[in-house]
């Protein structure tokens, strides 16, 4: 049962990422891979929220499987982030390397920060 739920919500998460990332990248006129960043940061915020709600409370396992493992796991992505960083580095010289470095470090720090914000909101009250 859990596997079916994880699969169904994973499909939904991947589909949402496909839509959001494409939309954001089209609207935002930048060479920075902003679509993946927006997807990952909103996903991390939601994960923090879920963690905050679940910590110290009795939350059904199936809800965590559906929302956390399925949807948010399927929604956020690490592999695209890495490949985009390599492509940034390969886009040329020092500028490319600087862009790759920014694209690796900024999401990492921002990701942990938004988990913290989500967690604090989820713990309330």
């Amino acid at each position: 049962m859990t596997w079916v739920v994880v699969g169904a919500f994973g499909a939904l998460g991947a589909l949402t990422r496909y839509g959001v990332s494409g939309l954001v990248q089209r609207l935002w006129r930048t060479t920075f891979p902003i679509g993946t960043l927006v997807v990952n940061l909103t996903g991390a915020f939601a994960a923090g929220l879920l963690l905050g709600i679940a910590t110290g409370r009795d939350v059904p396992d199936l809800l965590v499987a559906a929302a956390g493992v399925g949807f948010l796991g399927g929604y956020s992505t690490f592999s695209t982030w890495m490949v985009e960083s390599v492509l940034a580095a390969e886009s040329g010289g020092r500028v490319g390397l600087r862009r790759a470095g920014e694209n690796l470090v900024i999401p990492l720090i921002a990701g942990v920060a938004v988990v913290g914000i989500g967690f604090a909101i989820g713990q309330w009250p």
Binding site: T2, W3, V6, G7, A8, F9, G10, A11, L12, G13, A14, L15, R17, Y18, G19, S21, G22, Q25, T30, T31, F32, P33, G35, T36, N40, G43, A44, A46, A47, G48, L51, G68, V69, L72, G73, G74, Y75, S76, T77, F78, S79, T80, W81, M82, V83, E84, S85, V86, L87, A88, S91, N103, L104, P107, L108, G111, V112, V115, G116, F119
Partner: protein, 142 residues
């Protein structure tokens, strides 16, 4: 369409005319990827410390394969138009995870485990970057 040389989304031409069949390929791949990640977590992540290994493994393996698939098939007319949406966006996008990595680092910070809280994400992005680079190199060579 906005030219965006750095974006996989644009390079894979995902931002134009998203068809229903492509969406279906993404969803089907996403289901497989999410279940695959949960399977690895089930097999590897038995204890709290092993959970980090489960996330690390899916992220590094997924980055290598995505690099390979993108270099080999993106923008190639001979490749099926559903291959990248299915394998790249769907399976590998859902198999790997950013939200879980961030949440794990946050929990390490909360536990005061500063060595792992700094070391684990740095090793993850270092290894992930190298894995994606190797995948692209292998995929691009004849």
């Amino acid at each position: 369409m906005v030219a965006s040389p750095l974006s996989v989304t644009d390079r894979l031409n995902l931002s134009t005319s998203i068809t229903g069949r492509r969406r279906f390929a993404v969803a089907a791949g996403g289901a497989l990827g999410a279940v695959g990640r949960a399977l690895v977590a089930d097999i590897v992540g038995r204890t709290d410390s092993d959970v980090l290994w489960a996330t690390f493994i899916v992220n590094i393996v997924g980055s290598f394969i995505l690099g390979y698939v993108v270099a080999r098939h993106a923008g190639r007319s001979r490749s099926s138009p559903f291959l990248i949406p299915f394998v790249g966006v769907g399976v590998l996008g859902a198999f790997t995870t950013f939200s879980l990595l961030s949440a794990e680092v946050f929990e390490l910070v909360r536990a005061g485990d500063w060595i792992l809280a700094i070391g684990y994400p740095l090793v993850s992005i270092g290894a992930g970057f190298v894995a994606a680079l190797l995948g692209i190199r292998f995929g691009g060579s004849k």
